[in-house]
Symmetry: C2
């Protein structure tokens, strides 16, 4: 039996305990909860691996943890993960406590178990295992652990730009990615982006008697009509300029789609919906998932929900979410939306941009893609699935890869059943332990290539 | 000096105190607050006037107070008012406490001072004054005082039908009406109606990661599109059948509009709006106010406001308000809306009717109209303003006038500055005292006519 594999088997309980310890810290950035505990725990884990640990933070922000583990070569691999998680609510929808990290039928259930403490702990344990079995790492590792990823990493770019030397690397692995429903490993070369805008329309300066309904304008209509002017039931977005910069998939990327799996039936069943948007299926569903920019009603409120009970709405608010694909620039979208609203008679709607994330990607032809694919094939005995763009957002192309000028590819160890961001998020303990081993095997492969 | 007038002048403080006492009781039916105190207070006031008092209530409902004051004739005038008020919130928008009944610059400020305790107290004091000056009333009075008017009088029809003999009358005066901005008295011969529907669209059975946005339908769109399908910015309602039964104003009614005043500039200023709906003005504004049926977004909610913070909306709710004019039947509107939604692809939206009030009116040609108009002219030295339909809803045509087969005309003593349902609702003390005298003078006029 292989020494690395045997070592991980022998240390399985200890490695699982590392993950459980992390998962028991309720590091919910949205509630500014558990951050110092998570930082202390990770500092101690990194230090035990022989890492130099530096905390870097923007004023008032949660720290970015940077742990440098020296290796036999100056070639440097940056490992990006995050220690914060989304809120666990609704709590009553969990079958095990979200911060209990209980293992039920081989599945560790916790908020953050997959997103992203599972990936993070596996990488830490991979260093431990590699060093125990082979000694010095074959390349230098830089763990870069974000505390605000679930808030959209609002300070990451600023901190990265202020610490270019500390963070300098030759390649970077991001978080995320999961085995598909056939169990095949996956990697993603890019991610989508988003920007949200709060649209506000103020009407009368006070609530008014409903007897005036026929002569006093109701601001809720402008919000409703504004949304309706952006997209009709055919799902085609009617905002001029919205699609302009969106990169269409290349022929090579489209060919990859045939190999991707999206668990349509499982998604429909889990979400209790009769069909996907527009009834799409198969390759069309996957093409939409990866390459279709979207405009969505993220929230809308007027009347009872917003300003109390009496009379007609005095104020209406709608949050519109633009789902972006690589090359669409969030910073251009306010102008695009403003012009659309003005042209459609909604000049009185005010706009406030919130929560932008940039899309980004590494070209399919980058040599790192093949190195990781070969390592995955060798370990999992399966051709890995390559997402030219992942359906999710938030890989830090703009915040990290661009200022450091480093290729960023995302690999992860969750599964189609991970329930990211949902109640009963979890990770299979077997997946986690395999992830430790795969990552330890990736180190020498990347050391040779990067 | 006229004896009645002199009596009211001498007793002015006492009569004002009657109103203040009523206004200090926070009888907010929506919060089920202060109801027993209001009933006790009114029972005691009525008993002091020599009335037989009966309380009639539907199971679990606030009582309807019926106070019969015998008169020299069996001819009976029913006086309909209500002792409940709308909530006072937002409290910080009041310059005097809403249940303090403080008098500031000759204006009594209180929630309910105009709507409807001012009318009610003036009528009670009118009986006191008439009897003190002239002895026996010239006709029998039946005070009918509702405790749930601001909730839409949900039990009134049921209680009236169960008490036809107790409530039998030859004519009825309702609440409401106010001097216009020129100080002219007014009366209204009818009122508008309404029905609201909650539209609900449930999407996914759980919140889901925003990465699925492009393939999982978002129920908020159906609510947005459904609203947009009902009315566009031209304000023309596009629901088939909606206008079918709406009575257009007659020639005689349209002629009345020229005499009506609507304080456009004051309304715009008070509400802080640049123009009325569609920029209407003058007679067009008044025609809309009285005769234009409406469809409004009463409230809408999805996403952040409804089901928490994460992911895409799982459920969306819109409350649509149909503002109805005489002859439109609220009970037909659910079918009308259902057919519209089904025809426009919104079969998945469920409907729940809430809060219906029927429109209704007395014909302009009814002899009582002229009797009241002449009495008003004689007392106020002004031609009264006659609203063929009032802009507001809630005169109990369906609940009271129809089952008792009695003409119902609405007269009131508020003013254009009463601020019904708004912070700093109030009544001019001079208006209130004049209202007492006017009402006492109406008794003999109506005794001769009804």
């Amino acid at each position: 039996m292989d020494r690395l594999h045997a070592h991980i088997e022998r240390n399985r309980d200890r490695y699982v305990e590392t993950l459980r310890t992390l998962c028991r810290i309720p590091s919910v950035s949205f509630h500014n909860q558990g951050i110092p505990e998570a930082v202390r725990c990770l500092t101690s884990l990194l230090t035990a691996l022989g890492a130099d640990v530096a905390l870097r933070r923007a004023e008032g922000a949660s720290p970015l943890i940077v742990g440098t583990v020296p290796g036999a070569s100056a070639r440097t691999l940056l490992l990006y993960n995050h220690y914060d998680v989304v809120p666990a609510e609704p709590l009553d929808a969990w079958t095990s406590p979200p911060f209990g990290a209980e293992i039920v039928d081989g599945r560790l259930i916790a908020r953050g178990a997959s997103d992203n403490k599972g990936d993070l702990a596996a990488r830490l344990c991979a260093v431990d295992a590699y060093r125990a079995v082979y000694g010095t790492l074959p390349l230098t590792l830089k763990f870069v652990i974000d505390g605000e990823e679930e808030m959209g990493s609002p300070h990451l770019r600023e901190v990265v730009e202020a610490n270019r030397e500390l963070l300098r690397a030759d390649a970077a692995l991001g978080e995320g990615g999961a085995r598909d429903d056939r169990g095949r490993p996956s990697m993603s070369l890019g991610c989508r982006g988003r920007i949200l805008f709060e649209m506000e329309r103020v009407g009368a300066g006070q609530t008014f008697h409903s007897s005036l309904t026929s002569v006093v304008p109701n601001p809720a209509w402008d919000i409703v009509w504004a949304f309706a002017s952006m997209k009709g039931p055919d799902e085609r977005i009617t905002i001029e300029g919205f699609y302009d910069d969106a990169l269409a998939p290349s022929e090579a990327e489209l060919r990859l789609l045939d190999d991707l799996r999206f668990d349509e039936e499982g998604t429909r069943r889990r979400l209790g919906i009769p069909q996907l948007t527009l009834g799409v299926s198969g390759r069309d569903a996957i093409r939409r998932l990866l390459f279709e920019p979207t405009v969505e009603v993220s929230s809308v409120g007027a009347g009872r929900t917003l300003d109390g009970l009496k009379g007609m709405p005095r104020r209406a608010v709608g949050v519109v979410r633009f789902g972006l694909v690589p090359n669409q620039d969030p910073s251009k979208m306010e102008g695009v939306l403003r012009r659309h609203l003005d042209a459609h008679g909604f000049a009185a709607i005010t706009l406030r941009p919130i929560s932008e994330r940039y899309p980004g990607k590494v070209p399919l032809e980058h040599p790192m893609v093949d190195v990781i694919a070969r390592a995955a094939r060798a370990f999992y005995h399966e051709d890995p699935v390559i997402y030219p763009v992942a359906p999710w957002i938030g890989a830090p192309y703009r915040e990290l890869a661009q200022p450091l000028n480093v290729p960023l590819i995302n690999v992860g160890i969750g599964s189609a059943e991970s329930r990211f961001h949902a109640p009963d998020e979890g990770i299979e303990v077997d997946d986690y332990c395999a992830g430790i081993e795969f990552m330890a095997r990736l180190f020498p492969a990347l050391a040779a290539a990067t």
